[in-house]
Amino acid sequence: MPMVYSSILDWVNFPDIMANPYYPFETYNLPYDISQKLWEIIGGTIAWLINLLFPGNPVSEWLVCDMTVNFFALIIFMIVVFLVVFIGILISLWEERKVLGRTMDRRGTMVGMKGFLQCVADGFKTFMKEDTQPRKVDRMTYMWTVSLVIGTSMLIACMIPLSDRWYVVNYNTGLLLIMGLFALAPFFILVSGWSQNNKYSLIGGMRAAEMMISYEIPMLILIATACLMAGTFNIGGIVQAQYDTMPYFIPQCIGFVTFFVCANAEAERTPFDLAEAESELVEGWQTEYAGMKWGLIMLADYMRGYVSCAMITILYLGGWNLPFIGDLNNYVPELVFLLKTWLVFFAMIIVRAALPRVRTDQILNLGWKVFMPLSIINLVIVLLLKMGGVF
C-alpha cells in the first residue's frame, strides 16, 4: 500500500534495528545502530528531495526500504568502527610520545592539543612524501606483502570488540580468528624482507621469522589456558566469565606477566623489535619502504600494539567490565575498554623506556627456556583450580 509522504519526517524515521529482516547480527549492535540512524537521516533526506522533484518515484521508495538501509548502514558501519579504532590508535601513539618523553626528561610532541596534532602532521608529511621504490625489488611481493601486513593489522584492530554491543563478528571462536590473523604478519615480513633486494631487510625478515617461533607457542598456550578457564572461545564469554568470578590476572598472575612479554614481542615493540633493530639493521625489514608506505607500516605497528594490549585486556583484565559497580557497566563499556587498553599500553611504554633490545639468540632462549615452562606451569595451576572447582 503506497504511503503518503508529506514532510521530511515521514522519510526519516528510526525503526527498531532488530526488527529489520536483514539485520546481520544476532544481538544488539551499537555501531550498526548508529550507522543505520545515520543512513536514515542521509538517505531519508535524499529520498525526500528526490520526491519533491518527482513525486511518487520508485527511487525514493527504494532508498528507504529495509534492504537498502541495511546495505548502506553496513558501509557506514565499517567507517564508524574503523574511525573509532583509528582515533584510539592515534591516542595511543600520542600517549607513547608523551609518556616516553616524560620518562626521558623531555616534553614529547608539542604541536597543538598537547601534542596530539603531531600525529596528524606526521601523517600528512608521510603522505606528501615522494613514493620512491628501488629499481631492483621484486615488485609484486614488495607491494603485496606490505599491503597484507597493513591490511591484516587493520582488520584485527577493527575486529577487536570494544564491548558486548560494539563488535564486528561474534563467532564462538572469535578469539582464534583474531589470533590467526595476528600471527600472519611475520610471514609477510619474511617475504617482504626477501623481496626488497636489501641485506638489512633480508636479515630483518629472517629475524621476524626466527622470533615468531620463540614467542608464538607460549602465547597460544596462554590463550588456550584462559579459554580453558572461561570454558569458551567467545570473547564475550571470556569477559563475562571474568565478570562472574574475578579478573584472570589474579589466578593467572604468572600467565599474565608472560603474556605481557609475549604480546610485546608479537607487537614488535622495543625490547623485542629485532626485525627492525635500528642500530644494526638500519630500519630492518622496512628499509626500502618510503613515504606513505612507511607511514602506513608505522601505523600498522601501532595497530598491532593496540591489538596486543586489547588481548591482554580481554584475557586478563576483565575486558569492558569494571568490578564492584554493577549496572553502571552498561553505560560506557567501550570507553572502559579503551581506557584499560591504554593503561596496558602505558605499561608497554614504560618497558620500552626502561629496557634495551635483546639479541636473537636471547629471545630464542627466553621463549623456549623461560616462557614455555612458565606457560605450562600456568596451565597446570589453572587445571588444578578447575579440578578443585574454584572456577
Partner: protein, 397 residues
C-alpha cells in the same frame, strides 16, 4: 694477569667465563655449506657515530670477517698545521675531537711547551687538569649515550646527555664555549677561573656523583643490558697490547696502564686517584672501566679545584712565550678519554712547525675491529664498536 695480585680482582677472576668466542666459527662453518655475504654498515648508518664504514662478512647472523674503512673526513690536518703559526693551530686542535676538544688542545700546547723548554705555572696545570677531566666526563657521557642507542634504548641516551649538559655548562663558565673551547694556550691557559667557578664545579661534581647512579641502575641492574655486553668482543691482554689498543679498552682486559699515573704529565702526580682495571676483556668490562673512570674524574676535579684555590687569586696562569720555536724534535703523550694520544713536533726555528703528527687512539683501536668482531652476531657489532667510542675527527685528522 698484569694487575697487582693483592687486589680483589684475582679472587673474582676465577669466576669469569673462559675467554673464547661466543660461537666457534670454524666448527660452525665446517658443519654446513652456507653462503656468506658482505654487509656494509656505513658511512650513513645508525651505528657508525660519524662517517666511517664497517664491512662485515656474515654467515647467517654470525660475523666471520670485518673490515673498517675510514678516511671520509680526512682534512690533511697535519699538512695544514705545517702552514700556520703556532698560536693559530690551537683552534684547529680543538676540531680534532668534538667530544673532548680540550685534551687535544692541551696536548698540542704541552708539545710546544716542551719544544720551547718552558714549564707552565702550577695554576695553569691544575686548571688544565680540571678542564681535561671535564672533557673526559663529557666524552664518556657522550659515549654512554651512544651505548644506549646502540643497544636500542633511547632513555640512556637522553639521561646521559642531560648529565653531559651540566659539564658543558662548566665548560661555558670556564672559557665561554661549549665544545670548541680554544682554552689552553702555549704556556698556560686563556683566562683565570672565573668568579664562583669553584663553587659551581663542586656543585656540579656532587650532583653528578649522585645522578650517575641512576644511569648505572638503568644499565647495570638491567639483565638485558648486561647480557648484551657480557662475553662479547673478548680480547686477551697480549692481543690487546699487540694490536695497539689503548685507554679504557686496554684497561678492560687487565693491563694496568694509565698515562696519568705511569707517565705523569701536568701535575697529575700530585693528585690521588685510582685506575680502574678489570680482567674480563669483554665489552662489559670496558663499559665498567669507563663508568668508574667518570667517578674517579670527579674526585680528581675536587682535588685539583682545592689546589687551585690554595694557590690564590694572584698566582700566574699564563706565561709569555716567544713566537718562534727553537729547532728540535719533541713529543708529548696524554691520556685521552679514548686512549693514548700523542703529538710529535719537529720545529725548525720559525714560527710554523716543520711537521706535526698526531697519534690518535681511535685510529689504531678501530684497526682492531676485525679481531673484536670475529665470531659475534650482527646484533653485537654495535655493542662492541660502541666500546671503542668512535670519534672521526681525530681518526681521519
Amino acid at each position: 694477569m698484569m694487575a697487582d695480585d693483592n687486589s680483589e680482582q684475582t679472587k673474582t677472576a676465577g669466576q669469569m667465563p673462559a675467554m673464547k668466542p661466543v660461537v666457534d666459527v670454524a666448527a660452525e662453518t665446517a658443519k654446513m655449506e652456507t653462503d656468506k655475504m658482505w654487509v656494509i654498515m656505513g658511512p650513513q648508518h645508525p651505528f657508525s657515530h660519524g662517517l666511517w664504514t664497517l664491512k662485515i662478512k656474515v654467515d647467517g647472523e654470525i660475523v666471520t670477517d670485518a673490515e673498517p674503512i675510514v678516511g671520509y673526513l680526512h682534512r690533511g690536518w697535519e699538512k695544514e698545521a705545517e702552514n700556520r703559526p703556532y698560536p693559530k693551530i690551537i683552534p684547529m686542535a680543538d676540531r680534532l675531537c668534538y667530544a673532548a676538544s680540550m685534551t687535544y688542545t692541551h696536548l698540542y700546547c704541552m708539545t710546544v711547551e716542551k719544544a720551547l723548554g718552558i714549564d707552565p705555572p702550577d695554576k695553569a696545570k691544575y686548571i688544565m687538569i680540571i678542564a681535561d677531566e671535564i672533557n673526559r666526563l663529557q666524552s664518556h657521557l657522550m659515549w654512554l649515550a651512544a651505548v644506549g642507542t646502540d643497544l636500542g634504548n633511547f632513555t640512556v641516551f637522553l639521561w646521559a646527555m642531560r648529565e653531559r649538559e651540566y659539564w658543558m655548562d662548566m665548560n661555558v663558565r670556564l672559557c665561554g664555549a661549549r665544545m670548541t673551547t680554544n682554552y689552553p694556550r702555549i704556556g698556560g691557559v686563556r683566562n683565570d677561573t672565573p668568579e664562583l667557578f669553584d663553587r659551581d664545579i663542586i656543585r656540579c661534581t656532587e650532583h653528578f656523583e649522585k645522578a650517575v647512579w641512576d644511569i648505572i641502575g638503568l644499565i647495570d641492574d638491567s639483565s638485558i643490558y648486561v647480557s648484551r655486553m657480557k662475553n662479547t668482543g673478548i680480547l686477551t691482554p697480549e692481543q690487546c697490547a699487540n694490536l695497539g689498543i689503548t685507554g679504557p679498552a686496554l684497561r678492560g682486559t687487565g693491563v694496568d696502564f694509565d698515562l696519568r699515573r705511569d707517565d705523569p704529565y701536568s701535575n697529575y702526580d700530585q693528585i690521588d686517584f685510582d685506575v680502574p682495571v678489570l680482567k674480563q676483556g669483554d665489552s662489559y668490562a670496558r663499559y665498567m672501566v669507563r663508568v668508574e673512570e667518570m667517578l674517579q674524574s670527579c674526585k680528581i676535579i675536587k682535588q685539583a679545584m682545592a689546589k687551585v684555590r690554595a694557590l690564590g687569586k694572584n698566582a700566574p696562569y699564563r706565561l709569555k712565550v716567544p713566537s718562534n720555536v727553537p729547532a728540535g724534535r719533541h713529543f708529548a703523550k696524554l691520556e685521552d678519554p679514548r686512549g693514548e694520544s700523542m703529538m710529535y713536533l719537529i720545529s725548525d726555528g720559525t714560527d710554523k712547525p716543520y711537521r706535526l703528527k698526531v697519534r690518535s687512539p681511535i685510529f689504531v683501536n678501530v684497526s682492531a675491529s676485525r679481531e673484536l668482531c670475529m665470531g659475534c652476531r650482527i646484533a653485537d657489532v654495535p655493542a662492541i664498536m660502541a666500546m671503542i667510542d668512535m670519534c672521526l675527527g681525530e681518526t681521519d685528522r
